[in-house]
Amino acid sequence: MAEPAVTQDQEKEEEQKVVDDGIDVGISRLTTDKIETVINQVLKTETGARLKTYVNTCIHCGLCSEACHYYMSHDKDPKWSPVGKVKQTIWEMIRKKGRLAPEEIRRVVEIAHTECNLCRRCLQFCPFGIDIAYLISMARRICHKLGVTPKYIQDTAHSHSVSMNQMWVKGDEWPDTLQWQEEEARGEFPTLRIPLEKEGADIMYSVIAPEPKFQAQLIYQAAAIMETAGVNWTMPADKGWDNSDMAMFTGDNEIMGRIKRSHFETAVRLRVKRIVMGECGHAFRSVYDTGNRWLGWSHPPIPIVHAIDFYYELLKENRIPIKEKFKEPVTLHDPCNVIRGGGLMEKSRYVAHALCDTVVEMHPNREYNYCCCAGGGVINCGPPYKLKRVKSNKVKAEQLMEARTRGAKVIISPCHNCHSGLKDIKNYYDLHMDIKFFGDIIYQIMEKPE
């Protein structure tokens, strides 16, 4: 691996210079009394036996440490270990009975929002099965209630609250973008449709707002795949089309519930049998496992099918004719929310092998894979934390490098956050690998009309 381009001194300076309105202004409004009230209110009314039992059962053994890419990337400095982070946040709140100083809250926010991806790898390492991600989420919930959340992700949560999507996409911009992509795609697929508001279609396809905002080609590609596979599908023209959920990561459960309700009720309104979602991990976690629960749905009321699962189904049924397999050797990244959180590891491999000539496994892989360090809302905390984020995933860079030495040239990452996070890592560590979604590859190699 080449040395990073910037010098260490420059980096140190940059790391210390983090200015974040969301945190700075929030902290300036806090007093120890207010902090005490809020922490105790959340701990008393919003948590129960689970949190207590986790705290009482942890024997401080440190066995979770090596699960964490932050810890592994920072020379095993214990302040980055999962239990180390719980110690600096939740334990501290309990030990001090909620009486933390405002500056101590700053450290809590930093840890909870920018030093943990909630990837849940440590859950697999803890002999007692303590849900450390849940504990860190509670720290985020407390920060939310204190009004101290990093600016960029807070802004995203605000966007969700206003528009039910992540990127302030306005009511007209969404259908307009779909129609634009439909028109573009007709150049290649003359009869292609992006059917809007088609009640009774089999599938509602939902995406995350960055797609219409910056990556409209992904919608084009999805439409091309749907068209080629002959899927009876639809997309909503009004709110509910975005499956993403940064409110889940800011601890704003009420907004999380509202946007998930909008998503599911849109699917119910359209009378679809299933919701197929694009290649996004955190959105899967929200619709499949988290958001639905806050609303009282023990399981998603309309089944959620992640793109990996959907492509698996289409490929297995030979519904996507492939011209020629993808030549360049690929390696497969296992996004935490759909693999560890959704069990799609073997289907992901089936899809990779069906599409590509050579698949080089990274190690560790499947549910033991290392996190991208972008998910869990960390990348959404924005530029102020980018350097910390890439430096905190040296271990991922090493893992990718190792796959590269065995020939892998392309990383397949079936998750938006992983995609962006790995891109930053490959650039920072000079890895010279390409990153693609499954959809990119399918679109590239499938048969298209002459």
Binding site: D21, G22, V25, T45, E46, H144, K145, G147, K151, Y152, Q154, D155, H158, S161, V162, S163, W168, K170, G171, D172, P175, D176, Q179, E183, R186, P190, T191, R193, P195, L196, E197, K198, G200, A237, D238, K239, D252, E254, G257, R258, R261, E265, V268, R271, K273, L295, G296, W297, S298, H299, P301, I302, P303
Partner: protein
């Protein structure tokens, strides 16, 4: 409401060939049947970038570059959102409105079909347009939309204060409000969501978020005395004008009326509350226990609960019949007054209650074939498409609109032919 007695309730069967359309056009999109069943229509592609609407085999006079959201108004007028020369508007029976916009979407109809409204954007400014008349005031953003029950007024959630990207604290001071016929409230909120307009059009109620943690209901800009950790959409009592909304309290949900708790019961979830037309009955979809769902009437849940979902609550005007859809795993059922029907379906549509309350019907689907179920009896016809059944005003007959083997069929049957 639409006067359905004037419809043809005598002719047993009428037919419109549908499949031949496919030979005349590049493609035919999904069809829509008129409420009275006399017409079937679809968006059709004529040429590259040229679309039209085909109604009973005849196209509208002039084509458009783009057409979407083809929908019949309740009075039978056919509307679509159409575009020419990069301008959008609404076409009603093929005639575009005079006003053109940068974009239009979200068509709303009054129950009697007399009024049609859309959300519109022109030069980056937003407003509602009612019957081709845009609001006088426009806004920089507009997110939720509503229409008064008589269709004479439109409302929207609008942005009234500018804020830049990442200006989280400015946002939290409140930049949104609601506007009725373009007149925005003076009070600003962090968020404003679903609204309801009173029957007389004098009251606009909306869910509002006062700060990041406190929610309430605002009526004509005036916030309830109490705030809650969360609220859902308000409804307005059809007679006395009081406002009722689900509110969250101590981690559970209940209904509140004008800011005071209305129901004693607390549930893991309460939503989609609905009054009977006389306002005497108030029903809502509730979750009595985590992961279980049912309907509660005046705060008392039905004895029967369902695992996956309860949706499409329908209350008859006199409140005596309450129907909903339920889902267990992958199968849907209709449930009426707390009793689930025995037949299960792969999909079901919103139940329809006959004017005399004798019958409840619904469009249903099994293995890709559509039919209609009435009072738990499945009509023995498997169709390629079907629309909601419509009961005659006297409740004796049912209008069935279907697509079978390439033909659109309008049938009027005595209801007893299905129910036996």
């Amino acid at each position: 409401m639409v006067d359905q007695s004037k419809w043809d309730w005598e002719t047993r069967e009428k037919e419109v060939p549908f499949d031949p359309w496919k030979e005349n056009f590049n493609w035919v999109e999904e069809p829509y049947a008129s409420p009275d069943g006399e017409q079937v229509a679809a968006v059709v592609n004529i040429d590259e970038g040229e679309f039209n609407v085909c109604v009973n085999g005849e196209t509208w006079e002039s084509p458009f570059e783009k057409i979407w959201y083809l929908r019949y108004a309740p009075d039978g007028r056919l509307t679509a959102l159409v575009s020419d020369m990069a301008e959008w508007t609404v076409a009603v029976d093929g005639v575009p409105w005079e006003n053109k916009f940068g974009y239009v979407w979200n068509t709303l109809f009054s129950p009697d079909g007399k009024h049609i409204a859309v959300a519109a954007q022109a030069d980056g400014q937003y407003c509602m347009v009612l019957d081709d008349t845009p609001w006088e005031t426009t806004f920089q953003n507009m997110t939720y939309f509503a229409m008064s029950p008589d269709g004479s007024k439109t409302a929207a959630v609008v942005q009234v204060t500018d804020f830049g990207e990442g200006e989280v604290h400015k946002f939290q001071e409140g930049c949104f409000t609601a506007a009725l016929d373009g007149n925005a409230w003076d009070t600003k909120f962090v968020n404003v969501w679903n609204m309801a307009v009173s029957p007389d059009g004098t009251k606009l109620a909306a869910e509002v978020r006062l700060n990041l943690y406190e929610y309430s209901i605002a009526v004509n800009g005036q916030v309830w005395d109490k705030s809650f950790p969360c609220v859902w959409e308000p409804v307005i009592h059809p007679i006395d004008g009081s406002v009722v909304a689900p509110v969250r309290t101590a981690g559970k949900w209940t209904l509140a009326k004008d800011g005071e708790f209305l129901w004693d019961a607390r549930f893991p979830q309460v939503w989609h509350q609905q009054f009977s037309a006389d306002g005497k009955i108030l029903a809502a979809i509730v979750s009595p226990k985590y992961g279980r769902w049912t309907v509660a009437v005046d705060g008392r849940p039905w004895g029967v609960t369902f695992g996956t979902l309860v949706s499409d609550l329908v209350v008859s005007p006199d409140g005596s019949t309450i129907a909903a859809l339920t889902k267990e795993g992958e199968t849907w059922k209709v449930v009426v007054n707390g009793a689930a029907w025995k037949d299960t379906f792969d999909m079901a549509w919103r139940p329809v209650i006959s004017p005399d309350n004798r019958y409840v019907g619904a469009k249903v689907e099994r293995q890709g074939k559509y039919t209609v179920v009435v009072n738990d009896r499945v009509w023995q016809k498997e169709c390629d498409a079907a629309w909601d059944p419509v009961f005659s005003p006297d409740g004796e007959k049912v209008l069935l609109r279907t697509l079978e083997n390439g033909r659109y069929l309008r049938r009027v049957l005595p209801v007893t032919e299905i129910t036996g």
